[in-house]
């Protein structure tokens, strides 16, 4: 079902040199929102494709400009990165606003009221400060950013709330760091084993299977850790998110997600890309199934008048920076 929508829209996006991709994006999000049901009723996506197209054009102009400048004069390109970095919190706020204002449930739009000044603290000041704390502030920054995003969101008049317990956030990252270090030791041991077994470090050693295995182990370890951290963090965030009297419960499991990622990659590889829609649906389904709303009363929200317009540039620029060209 989604395969047909995906492939037709992908082809149209390619033959129109990306112009149609804005419409494709709207159709994709409408499809996923419309099939995500809460209490039997779907979410809605309202963005006008033309707004997204404008945003994309600006975003790609910036990206291409940076790429070309990077080739011609790396110095000038880095001089351009600086204002972009300074503007980044503004872009993010607009992106959140656009996404929220164009999403709805029960005929009522979501909204995002985050202040630019707070965005500067969460997305520029704190991340820049992290290296000076030897990375120790990193979990705190993750907490600040997520709280900024969630606690400034609302559904109509109903405000979302999020206060992450700092200790629990740190626990996730400390456990991950410990696990990764232990894994590093294993990988290193197998590397040393290979080096000793392979005799003097000559050309042959570099390509010996032991070293290859060590590198693979290392990569696998990093991959597993990244997924585990993300899962634990996601669960923590949802389990502490409130919407008026309601709470949420997220039951994502690292093992399940790893399995999904691995089989998705395999499926996409085997089908030379044609398995992408299947992979997307599986992931979206698992995420939706793992998230429950814990009602603290009747599910009622009221609309808040006004404030529905938001430009798409922010959302698209941050998308393009992430290389999310997906249709």
């Amino acid at each position: 079902d989604y395969f047909r929508i995906w492939i037709v829209n992908l082809l149209l996006s390619i033959v129109t040199l990306g112009i149609y991709s804005a419409w494709a994006k709207v159709r994709r999000l409408r499809y996923f929102y419309g099939h995500t049901l809460l209490d039997g009723r779907p979410f809605g996506y309202h963005a006008a494709a033309i707004a997204i197209l404008k945003g994309r054009l600006i975003a790609y102009a910036v990206v291409i400009l940076l790429a070309v400048l990077g080739q011609v004069s790396p110095l000038m390109a880095s001089a351009l990165y600086l204002p972009l970095l300074v503007m980044m919190p503004l872009i993010l706020v607009r992106a959140f606003r656009f996404r929220a204002a164009n999403s709805s449930y029960d005929g009522i739009r979501f909204g995002f009221d985050g202040l630019e000044s707070e965005a500067y603290a969460a997305f520029l000041f704190w991340p820049v400060a992290v290296p000076f704390t030897l990375g120790l502030a990193y979990p705190y920054v993750m907490k600040r950013q997520r709280e900024f995003i969630v606690a400034n969101s609302r559904h109509g008049r109903s405000q979302f709330g999020l206060e992450l317990p700092t200790a629990k956030v740190y626990r996730i990252y400390v456990l991950a760091a410990a696990g990764l270090l232990a894994w590093l030791a294993v990988a290193l041991a197998s590397f040393l084993g290979a080096a000793i077994g392979g005799g003097p470090p000559d050309r042959e050693t570099v390509s010996s299977p032991g070293v290859l295995l060590a590198v693979l182990l290392l990569y696998a370890g990093i991959g597993v850790t990244v997924v585990a951290v993300r899962t634990a963090f996601e669960n923590l965030v949802w389990n502490h998110t409130r919407l008026g009297p309601h709470g949420f419960e997220s039951r994502l499991k690292t093992r399940q997600l790893l399995w999904l990622y691995a089989t998705n990659v395999l499926g996409i590889a085997v089908t030379i890309g044609m398995g992408v829609p299947w992979a997307r649906i599986r992931l979206a389904r698992y995420r939706a199934e793992s998230l429950l709303l814990v009602p603290g009363g009747p599910l009622v929200s009221e609309a808040l008048a006004g404030g529905l317009e938001a430009a798409a540039t922010g959302a698209e620029l941050s998308d393009a920076m992430d290389f999310d060209f997906g249709v």
Partner: protein, 333 residues
């Protein structure tokens, strides 16, 4: 027109209730048990159809109705709406999906095999040489720091090889301006490579392994081929362009696990690299013929190198260089 069942949202609260929507006399009637509302057709907006999803009918004042997918308004639609209706027709049919799949795969394959290399060639030949020289200088400087040491060849040997290099360069192109750099590196072993901007680095180890100067000349001719065809720049351009192409298709799904995305990038990279090697070989063969050196020298040297490294068991499509036998066959043609 008979009415269709729908769900009404007032847009003010999250309350919702069943209604019947019906179009008559240029008005949209929304009726439930107690009340009947009517809106002019021009004031309502119906979401384009998408599969079997219920569609949202926006009413004036923020209210909306979810109507069944098949519901249509009897009004002339705007051009974008007609386009989306047509897209929806395509999306509903498996035959069109199959056509689209063939189209996408064909464009992807054609783009990667023909489009990207052709475009990269055009762009690379227009790139400023100063930039390439800059790239080459930086590359050599960092190689000198991590892997290379000064050459231990006697000066007269170096001078002889430099003369050989210059004559090859003149034969390749009268306005070529390339330099031969001598280095040593036990870690890298017998090797030579071309850097963007016109330098060929020749390692002492290769000079030692070669049985005569014609073999060295053959290798140098190959590296001059890389320079003449601007392979480094084209390689950089091609790999990034192909990466964008692949990202456009698989997009966000693989970026979730970014090193899964690195695999196709690596395979493409190796594929392009093999093509460049063969192109440089071809260039070298013509150059050797023109300067009166037997092509067999090149093949002989490659075969010896491959034997010395132990014929690799890595399958061809994973390697950045084609096997010596394949390159030898190309020499025979």
């Amino acid at each position: 027109m008979t009415g269709v069942p729908a769900t009404y949202h007032d847009g003010q609260t999250s309350r919702h209730w069943p209604v019947v929507v019906r179009v008559a006399d240029g008005l949209v009637h929304v009726e439930d048990a107690g009340t009947a509302r009517a809106f002019p057709l021009a004031a309502v907006h119906l979401e384009p159809r998408l599969g079997t999803l219920p569609r949202r009918l926006d009413l004036p004042g923020g209210a909306s109705c979810l109507v069944p997918a098949g519901f249509e308004l009897p009004v002339a639609t705007s051009a974008p709406q007609r386009v989306e209706r047509w897209v929806n027709e395509l999306e509903l049919r498996w035959t069109w999906a199959a056509v689209a799949a063939v189209g996408v795969l064909g464009l992807l394959w054609g783009g990667i095999v023909y489009g990207v290399p052709a475009a990269a060639k055009v762009v690379a030949t227009r790139m400023s040489p100063a930039l390439e020289r800059q790239m080459g200088r930086q590359a050599l400087a960092s190689l000198d720091r991590i892997a290379l040491s000064p050459s231990k060849l006697p000066p007269e040997r170096r001078a002889a090889l430099a003369v050989r290099f210059d004559s090859l360069m003149r034969a390749a192109s009268p306005d070529a301006d390339y330099r031969l750099e001598f280095r040593a590196s036990p870690a890298v072993g017998p090797n030579a490579f071309a850097l963007p901007g016109g330098s060929v680095v020749l390692l002492d180890e290769l000079v030692k392994v070669a049985e005569n100067d014609d073999e060295i000349a053959a290798v140098l001719a190959h590296e001059i081929g890389h320079l003449q065809e601007r392979h480094t720049m084209r390689h950089v351009l091609q790999t990034s362009a192909a990466g964008v192409l692949v990202a456009a298709v698989v997009g966000d799904v693989l970026s979730a696990s970014s090193y899964a995305a690195a695999l196709p990038a690596f395979l493409l990279d190796a594929r392009y690299s093999r093509a460049f090697e063969l192109e440089a070989d071809q260039f070298a063969f013509t150059l050797l013929d023109r300067t009166g050196v037997d092509r067999a020298n090149f093949v002989r040297f490659l075969t010896r190198m491959e034997k010395a490294q132990g014929s690799s068991k890595t399958p061809g499509w994973l390697q950045t260089h084609p096997g010596a036998d394949e390159r030898g066959r190309a020499a025979g043609r």
